[in-house]
Symmetry: C2
Subunit: 214 residues, 2 copies
DNA sequence: GTTTTTGCACTGACCAGTCAGTTCAAAAGC
DNA sequence: GCTTTTGAACTGACTGGTCAGTGCAAAAAC
C-alpha cells in the first residue's frame, strides 16, 4: 500500500509517496541505532543499511546526519506533546479535577514511552547536553512538553485545588522526570512489570500515599 | 575551583602520589568533555590537552579510552552511593523516621548533583544505553545506588510507617528519577533557583502536598 | 636506578559527505 | 500503440580527513 503509487494525488512535491516512505524508514532505523549507541557512535552507513537503502539516499533526503537527527527529535516530541495534551483535555472533559488530569498525563506518558522506548531513551540522553548543534531545538521542544504539565498545575492552583505554595516549573520538571525515569527503568530493568503496575506506583507517589499524610 | 568531577574530594594531595594526581586530572578533564559532547565525540587528544598532559600519559595510566571512562563511572557512583547512605544513616540516628530519611537523601542527592553536575549528566545519558561495553558496569553501579533508597523504603514498610502496598523497586526508581531530572533541569534551565527551593519543591511532592490529601 | 611523563611521528581503520552514473515510471512525441 | 525523453529518486565507489592506539628515546621525578 505504500510505494507502488507514484501518483501522489494532491500532495506537494514531485515524487509522491515514495520519498516519504523512505524518510520514514530512515527515521525508524536512526532512532533505534542512536538510542542504542548515541549520535556520534552511529554511522550513516549503519542507518542506511538498517533502513535498507543506499547511503546516498540518506543525503538525498536529509542535508546531513544532524539534520536527520533534529527532524527526528522534532517529530517525536511533537507526538509526545500531543498525547499529553489530549490526555489532559479528555480528563478535563470528564470533570475529574486537577489530580485526575495529572494522573491521566502520567498514564499517557507511560503509554508513549512503552510505544516509543528508543525515542525516549535518546531524548533523555541528549536533553541536558550542552555544546551541541541541536541544543536549541531540544530546548524549545522540551519547553513545549513541560508547558503542558505546567498548564495543568497552574489551573489547579487557580481553582484552589492545589496549594499556591507549589513551585510550578520545578514541580512540573520533577513530575516529568519521575515518569521518564521510572518508565525507562521499568523497560530496562523490570520489563516483566505491567504498565498498570508502574502507573499505580507513580499514582501513589503523586497522591502522597508514600511519604504523605498517613 | 569549579571542578565538576566526581573524582575529587577525599584524597588530599599528599597521599596518592604523582600517578594518582595525574589520574585525577584525567578524570576531571574527561568528565566535563564527555558530559558536554558524549563519549564518542570526545577525543583522547582533547582529554589529554585539557588535563595538561601528554597523550602518551593517558595510555600509560589507562589501558584504553573506554577503560578510563569505566573507572570514572565506578568512582563517581561510589561517591554518590556513599553520600546517600551517609545521609540516611545520619537521619536514622537523629530518629526522624522514614520520611525524614527520604527527605535527607533527596537533599544529599541535590548536593551531589550541585557539586558534580557534569558527572550526573553523563551518568543519565549513558544509563539506559544498551549495547555498550560498559553497560554491565553501569547496571551494577546503578543497582548499588537504587538499593540504598530501596533499603530505606523497606524499613519504612516494615516499621509500619509506609503502606505495604507500595512497590519498593518502582517507587525507588521514581524517587531517584524525580531528583535526578528536577536537579538537571534546575542546573540547565533555572540556575538562578537555590538548592533550598528545589529541595522544598521535591519535599512537597514527596510528602503528598501536591496531589495528596488536601 | 626505577617509575612516570613527555613529545612526536606514525599507522591503520573508520567515516561523513560527494558525485557520476543508473533506474524507472510518467509525460511527450510520433 | 510504441518509442523517446525527462527527471526525481536512488546507488555505491571514492575522497579527504579524523582519530584511537603504538613506539620509543629522552627527560623529569622520586
Amino acid at each position: 500500500m505504500e510505494s507502488s503509487t507514484a501518483t501522489g494525488g494532491g500532495s506537494t512535491g514531485g515524487g509522491g509517496g515514495r520519498r516519504e516512505a523512505t524518510r520514514q524508514k530512515l527515521y525508524e532505523a536512526a532512532v533505534t541505532l542512536i538510542a542504542e549507541q548515541g549520535f556520534s557512535a552511529t554511522t550513516v552507513d549503519e542507518i542506511a543499511e538498517r533502513a535498507g537503502v543506499a547511503k546516498g539516499t540518506v543525503y538525498y533526503n536529509f542535508a546531513s546526519k544532524s539534520v536527520l537527527f533534529e527532524e527526528l527529535l522534532r517529530h517525536g516530541v511533537g507526538l509526545l506533546t500531543a498525547s499529553l495534551r489530549e490526555a489532559a483535555d479528555r480528563s478535563a472533559k470528564e470533570g475529574g479535577g486537577t489530580v485526575a488530569a495529572l494522573d491521566a498525563m502520567i498514564r499517557a506518558g507511560l503509554v508513549f514511552i512503552d510505544r516509543y522506548p528508543a525515542f525516549t531513551q535518546l531524548y533523555v540522553a541528549e536533553l541536558w547536553r550542552t555544546n551541541r548543534a541541536w541544543q536549541s531545538t531540544l530546548m524549545v521542544v522540551r519547553q513545549e512538553a513541560v508547558a503542558v504539565v505546567e498548564g495543568v498545575l497552574r489551573k489547579g492552583v487557580e481553582s484552589g485545588e492545589l496549594s499556591d505554595e507549589i513551585d510550578i516549573p520545578l514541580t512540573a520538571a520533577a513530575l516529568v522526570g519521575m515518569v521518564l525515569v521510572a518508565a525507562l527503568d521499568w523497560q530496562s530493568f523490570q520489563p516483566e512489570r505491567s504498565l498498570d503496575d508502574v502507573h499505580a506506583a507513580l499514582s501513589r507517589l503523586l497522591q502522597g500515599r508514600v511519604g504523605g499524610n498517613r
